[in-house]
């Protein structure tokens, strides 16, 4: 059944039972260490956030999860319907926040703003809403970005990649699909073309120019298995694609790291002041 639902390259197949177990413990551990009991996430109707909603419900129970739907006026109705279906199936709390007035207000005097600027601004408005709901709901913001998009930099800095912790950030898109199928995410969500839904008709794969199974395999062999360009060519990858993806990965390094602080004093955060994020005294009182 799952074989028809999506393409899963053999080398990317994981033990989904172990993955779900590890992720459940991880989510509970993060909450316990921070002194929180609830989670909030932005539910787009896409597979990544749907999977994180299911994993969160599995880890702590749906009653402790808030899904926030944050459509813009051009967002697809189908996305919203898919998100509502996830909320209905899980039985978790949800809120609808239309971000159109905030976004349109900002760009009112700037009608020529590019789609890229608008898209990034929308992603950051959603972040701002989530962190506000984090207070009203009393929950941590759980991240939903996957490993593929993080590596190639297909994320908005301080936008969709902003979170307290991310349970799926080490799963390639193909593996997201595998775990989603295993945990029972609605098939329609697994089947549809991935999209940032920042403008009508946008899909990840047309924008990037390659398919996720190919990209996932390339990243897996390049990064996880440390293969050289020559070895990747021998595996059947196009040299031009390898070089292009290499540039994307290198160019997105800044999105994956905490910004550097100029070293001046005796102890500097992240340099020689090194503590676990969650340590005695760090939990909410």
């Amino acid at each position: 059944m799952t074989a028809q639902l999506f393409e899963l390259p053999a080398e990317l197949a994981i033990d989904t039972g172990v993955a779900r177990r590890v992720i459940s413990e991880f989510i509970r551990g993060q909450l316990r260490q921070a002194g929180f009991e609830r989670l909030v996430l932005g539910l787009s109707g896409g597979i990544d956030s749907a999977l994180v909603a299911y994993l969160s419900a599995e880890a702590i129970g749906a009653e402790r999860l808030l899904c926030v739907l944050m459509p813009y006026r051009t967002s697809s109705d189908a996305s919203r319907a898919d998100a509502e279906e996830v909320v209905r199936r899980l039985g978790c709390a949800s809120e609808l926040v239309d971000i159109s007035p905030m976004v349109d207000g900002y760009f009112a005097d700037d009608p020529d703003a590019t789609p890229l600027r608008r898209g990034n601004f929308m992603a950051r408005q959603r972040m701002a809403v989530l962190y506000d709901r984090s207070v009203t709901w009393g929950g941590l913001v759980v991240g939903t970005g996957n490993k593929t998009e993080s590596l190639i930099g297909y994320t908005t800095l301080f936008g969709d990649n902003a979170c307290a912790f991310n349970p799926v950030g080490d799963l390639y898109k193909s593996q997201i699909r595998q775990v989603a199928a295993d945990i029972g995410v609605p098939e329609a969500i697994i089947r549809k073309a991935p999209s940032a839904d920042l403008w009508p008709g946008q899909t990840d794969e047309t924008e990037a120019g390659f398919t996720y199974p190919v990209l996932d395999r390339l990243l897996f062999w390049r990064i996880d298995k440390r293969r050289s360009t020559e070895e990747l060519e021998a595996l059947g990858f196009d040299r031009a694609l390898v070089e292009r993806v290499d540039r994307m990965v290198a160019g997105a390094e800044f999105k994956r790291q905490v910004p550097p602080i100029a070293k001046l004093g005796p102890r500097t955060a992240g340099v020689d002041y090194l503590y676990p994020r969650r340590r005695p005294g760090s939990a909410r009182g």
Partner: protein, 342 residues
Amino acid sequence: MKPLRIALAQIAPRLGLFDENLAVHHELLGRARDDGAGLIVFPELGLTGYLLQDLAAEVAIRLDDPRLASLAAETEGCSAVVSFVEESGDHRLFIAAALLEDGRIRHVHRKLFLPTYGLFDERRFFAAGDVLRATPSRVGVGIGLAVCEDFWHLSVPSILALDGAQILVNVSSSPGRDLAATNEVGLGTATSWQTLIRTYAQLTTSFVVFCNRVGVDESISFWGGSEVIAPSGEALFTAPLFEEGLFSVDVALADVRRERVALPLLRDERPEWAVRELSRIVAERAGLARDSTAEDGADPGLDVAPGDPVPRPIGFRPGDQSRSEDDADTPAAGVAGEPPRR
């Protein structure tokens, strides 16, 4: 001979919370002892949590710390292995495992191998131990203590067994990783460890007791799967992956004798020969002897000989002024045949 009951405390220590972890140790030690356990084993850094970074200095204890003595006091009539950050008199911090018996600290092992690669960063925060010794024990046979990465070095189980250990105890905080579906038990780390400790038990004809923690520190999840392996290499007990619990298993220490009579590998070991060859290798690496596997022309202590000298320096040199764009591809006039200048 009465079987030895071994208890494995597969716990999830709280990071940096010494007193909370100490309370868990007291409770489980008492429960296991009351259940008739003769050897109770806690995981690496069970008293402090693993990913300490700069917290290491804040949770470190000396061997005369009363909290350690309070645990030792609970070992009347039994043995326990506990692990913590040990601060020496000269203020070095070690990852230590202590064998507590009959109310006292019987033996302390300082972790020898501190992984500082991949997701590990131990050498930045800790000092490495220098001593490896098997120790006699009240359980009736010698015990050899090792901490996690120590078992990724063949010499450790080998030396412990030669030194008289019949039970090799490894306490671990092993982070689980590699979920490839092709792994036997769904986790690459678990598959590797299971292979290692079965092999060590068989090759040293000793019991291997492996106690690994569970729970989460920051990004990493510890996978548990604690085991007791017989001297034949057979797994006598395997704890569930990722689950907290106190597990016990009865073993017949007479199995060591049976195995060693039938399969006298330790009898046939040649430590004197190994020492000679190791001495040679150490001397070669130090440049004090000719390296039998180095290239001709390599300097002492190096194994690769320098390449041929660069024939001519690269870039502008006096005498190049006459070169024009047109003859850029021809050898620079006036220097051909001259020795290279620096």
